[in-house]
């Protein structure tokens, strides 16, 4: 019998100190919609940029100053868990979003303005589009949309019941579908990418939702704590639980771009405006892995003997297919996309460990990966053929001679992806492999180590191309990065080196935070 209202209604409780960072981001996004409505076109972009950056900074400061000392509690009547991993991931998402926003701001590298089309609704190549370009109009809806997405990500990593989990996933994804379709150059490719991402994304959301229904059917509870309790009371191998676990996993594997649910990654990463690609590749992956860790470690924590074999298969497939397909790519954005698939495999190695060290190593890896990814995509925006980005690898030949700094910094990020010592990628790989060995997943580590070498091949190939080939006769022009891009790249490069040379503080932070509450 459901509890009836006549039995008395108790108001749900809201722990505002724990929820404040998310409320600030969502509030900023809603104010952003009002700015769109009531600010004249002239100052609108400036207002949106300021609002977006200030919102993220304030949310980060509040997260550290107010939420962090109080962490370790369920909030909003148990629907949200603000524990160590939640705060760690929320902070990571805010920092990565701030770096991506710096790329969104940049107007210096494209002669016509920022990376976004002046109006998503005009026909590509039409007269009305040319008019708007000439008037230097910009699609300022990008800012509130990105803020909504960031808010959804922050909720996703903290959600502690199936409904909040699903709503957060949609709040995170819906703005991304739109952002992907707003590239200024190669608009048809961008629109195609948006449509593909939307169709496949909604399909995977349906899987996740259906799986949630099965988990609810098994346990009679939508809260992760309730699912855990009904698991530990032990009712044996229930098919509902098995199907639900698998379907929820499919939804999450899609979001992180794990094989065999990766087919959207190269197309979407290539078609999206490069700053959005950076944002998606870094922040979305952190959010999706954060949510994956929570549902599999908290709700299904005692069920790991059933989900770990599935993770084994997906991890091996992801590492192998991602690395091999990356070798065959001739477009740098697609190569980075397949590289991010392979990286998802290495991160999954940590998840598969199903232990506290698996959790903390995954957290560290995600930070390291996020910095290097945003940095690498930021550099892609700088090498240009006339107006649009020169993404074909042959155009990057001899870049080391023409622009030593861009080539050197890109080499740093690529070496970090490859896991070369003294970069953050090495420490990250070392930690997840160590956790996986201790968690009894040694075969995964062997596959991971072999394919790290395969992956190193295509990263190093780009470096060789930049330093030991002659530049083409009609070499692409190199855009001078504006202050915003320079700052973002500098922070990413500093982060990549710092996490490789003195990883101690962040490792300690991750280990300290690596405890879910139920």
């Amino acid at each position: 019998m459901m509890p009836h209202l006549a039995d008395g209604f108790t108001s749900p409780t809201f722990e505002y100190q724990l929820l404040a960072p998310m409320l600030i981001v969502f509030g900023g996004a809603i104010v952003g919609v009002l700015v769109e409505a009531f600010t004249p076109r002239g100052p609108r972009r400036t207002v949106q940029v300021a609002l977006g950056l200030v919102t993220l900074v304030v949310a980060f400061v509040v997260l550290l100053a107010v939420t962090r000392p109080k962490l370790g509690d369920l909030a909003a009547s148990g629907t949200v868990a603000i524990d160590g991993p939640a705060v760690f991931f929320q902070g990571t998402i805010l920092v990565l979003a701030l770096l991506s926003f710096l790329l969104f701001v940049e107007r210096g590298v494209d002669s016509a303005g920022d990376a976004f089309t002046p109006s998503g609704a005009t026909i590509p190549g039409s007269a009305s589009e040319r008019e708007l370009v000439a008037a230097r109009v910009s699609q300022t809806e990008v800012w509130p949309l990105a803020l909504f997405s960031v808010g959804g990500m922050m909720l996703f990593v903290a959600s502690n019941d199936l409904l909040t989990f699903f709503v957060a996933l949609e709040v995170m994804s819906l703005p991304l579908y739109l952002l992907v379709g707003l590239a200024r150059r190669r608009r048809l490719l961008s629109q195609e990418a948006a449509l593909k991402y939307f169709l496949l994304g909604s399909f995977s959301s349906a899987f996740l939702l259906f799986g949630s229904a099965f988990l609810f059917g098994y346990s009679g509870s939508i809260s992760f704590t309730g699912i855990y309790d009904s698991l530990s009371s032990g009712v044996g191998l229930d098919p509902l639980l098995l199907i639900g676990t698998g379907m929820v996993a499919i939804g999450l594997f899609f979001k992180v771009g794990a094989v065999p649910f990766h087919s959207w990654v190269p197309d979407v990463y290539q078609g999206a405006p490069t700053p959005v690609t950076a944002f998606m590749a870094a922040a979305t992956k952190v959010a999706a892995f954060g949510a994956m860790l929570r549902i599999f470690y908290v709700a299904l924590g005692d069920y790991d003997w059933n989900w770990r074999p599935m993770f084994w298969v997906v991890t091996i497939l992801t590492i192998v297919v991602g690395s091999i397909l990356a070798i065959t790519q001739t477009d740098i954005k697609r190569m980075l996309a397949y590289s991010s698939v392979a990286q998802a495999g290495f991160i999954l190695t940590g998840v598969t460990a199903a232990s506290d060290s698996g959790l903390s190593s995954t957290m560290f890896y995600l930070v390291a990966y996020g910095f290097a990814t945003i940095g690498a995509f930021a550099l892609v925006t700088l090498v240009r053929d006339g107006t649009s980005e020169a993404t074909h690898l042959s155009r990057w030949a001899g870049l080391g001679r023409r622009s030593p700094i861009i080539a050197a910094v890109l080499s740093l990020f690529l070496l970090s992806f490859a896991g070369i010592p003294l970069t953050s990628g090495f420490i990250g790989k070392f930690l997840v492999f160590e956790a996986a060995v201790n968690g009894g997943a040694t075969p995964l580590v062997i596959v991971g180590a072999i394919f790290s070498a395969v992956a190193a091949f295509f990263y190093v190939r780009v470096i060789v191309l930049m330093y030991f080939s002659d530049p083409p006769d009609d070499a692409p022009s190199l855009a001078l990065p504006g202050a915003a891009t320079t700052l973002a790249v500098a922070v990413c490069a500093a982060g990549t080196v710092a996490l490789g040379v003195v990883p101690g503080p962040v490792i300690d932070l991750a280990q300290e935070a690596a405890a879910f509450i139920r």
């Binding site: 209202l5 108001s11 809603i30 009002l34 769109e36 409505a37 009531f38 026909i123």
Partner: protein, 119 residues
Amino acid sequence: MNPIVPILFLGLLAFGFAAFSILAGSLSGPKRYSRVKLDAYECGIEPTPQPIGGGRFPVKYYLTAMLFILFDIEIVFLYPWAVAFDQLAIFGLIEMLLFILTLGVAYAYVWRRGGLEWD
């Protein structure tokens, strides 16, 4: 009896009826095909002609329909509150006001950016 059994039985019944209808229709119905009968079915009215060369549809129908659904759903959420607003007390009132306010922001955006102008 397991509560699943009636549901399974209902499912089988529905499936059987669908299969029977298709089979019976194709066996017993007259087969006189004309242009009208082979047209795409569009709620009984004449199908709208495709724009030449895959042109564009006016987006205003879509926009109006979307706005209708949004406010439709707002009303759906207001009903349960209206039934129980005395028990939900001041908390329910504040939550509903916040909900309406958030939708109002979106409404202000649509209104100010010309989403409500037909031409």
